[in-house]
Amino acid sequence: MTADTLLHVEGVWKAFEGHPVLRGLDLEVERHQAVVLIGASGSGKSTVLRCINGLVPVDAGLITLDGEIEVTSLDVDLDVVRRRVGIVFQSYNLFPHMTVLENIALAPRKVLGQSKAQADETAYSLLTRFGLHAKADDYPDRLSGGQAQRVAIVRALAMEPELMLFDEVTSALDPTLVGEVLQVVRDLKLAGLTMVMATHEMHFAREVADTVCFLRDGMVHEQGPPELIFSQPSKPETREFLARILDK
């Protein structure tokens, strides 16, 4: 662990109804880094992300944020963790009874205690930044999948998280809409946001990642800079996985 470490994951175990999903997983994320998790379905990508913001309690192991908050402690105030860690899900999960603007301004108002004017202004400027200002007063059922997912990202960003988690954010999208969502992630990476991203978009992983982690059997099987992992993976399982997924 160095001074630049924002997220430290050490020996995390998690089983669901007796089926082990994470088996002593280690992960290190430095500030302003983009770490991309790849691996087959069921390799534990989503589960790690959910453990990191405390949505899923771990069975064993240690997760610390910024060297000071022990996420895995039984006494931790998870609301404090979640204020600092944003997450975007595969299925958007926008609140259907609120407009786009209300979706975004809710947490800053209720959690950070911002005034309505202040929260709305932040929301507007974020929407403008990502070309969504025209949708501010629409309800989520009027959005395309790509727009909905971009709004979900903006909603998480409005809390000014130090760390963003992306859980297969393009997997539910029509292929023609994937690009606009990835563009948002690319912008955030360029702006220096620290992120951990589970994805099946290998080309995007190669482009945006500082570190790629190949997950297998609930552990990080191999990790390294993208050019190394994608060109000369050292382990046969990594090679096999990449061959299979890039073939498609």
């Binding site: 609301d79 999960n93 909603r155």
Partner: protein, 292 residues
Amino acid sequence: MTTDVQGAPAPGTDIAYVDPTRRALSQKRARKNALSGILSLFAFLFIICFIVSRTPGWATVQETFFNYEEFVKTLPGLLEAFLLNIRIFLIAEPLILILGLAVALARTLKSPIFLPIRVIATLYVDIFRGIPTILVIFLLGFGIPALRLVGVPNDAVFWGTTALVLSYGAYVAEVFRAGIGSVHGSQTMAARSLGLNMWQTNRHVVLPQAIRNVIPPLLNDFISLQKDTALIAVLGPIEVLRQAQIDTSSSFNYTPYVGAALLFILLTIPMTRFADWIQLRTMKQRRIAGTS
């Protein structure tokens, strides 16, 4: 059917074009259908009335249940008594909503400190859903005044209304609970991961959606409540059923009961139509949102 291909706008024009000949024909067909429906209905009613009025006992039935003079004579009294039913309903309904929501929320509390509240809420629902409403009315309406407690009202309407609130509160609590359960867990997950606590998540994300989902069943319960205000008659206050009973026992004619029934029907029909309309609208909205 002739289709006017010539009159169509250029292909690709950005309008919702319908062939006018086709539109006229289908409108004509719709009018014809409506007319034959109405005609068939009237013919049917006429035949029924004809047969019924030819039955040997009809004169007696008409005299006993549908006596016009008796109806006109008793209606003003019935109407006045019916105001009490409406008053009971209007007081009970908001109290039931508050009680039902509070109990449903109490049952979602997870912290161990709230265990007593959760147990009480569960017991309340189990008990009051199990007892017939009329039994609760007897228990409270006759039982509590018999205790002769100081400072406790002896009013039959008060205890009757309380009994209705307690009985319906248990039902409505279950309706709300089902509504809370109908909101997908991913909504809670999204709200919690934004840092909202349990209470904020309930207040701003789960409840607004839950309440919207249960409006149709709630309206159904309130239609039922409108009718059950008549149960308070057993305690003696002059509401519409009691009034009809009094009128009937003085004339031995049952028309006042039919009059009272008519008043209830007039009250519940708008509510029933409203419930249907809401349900239809909800279904349409869900179809648009693609969630059903």
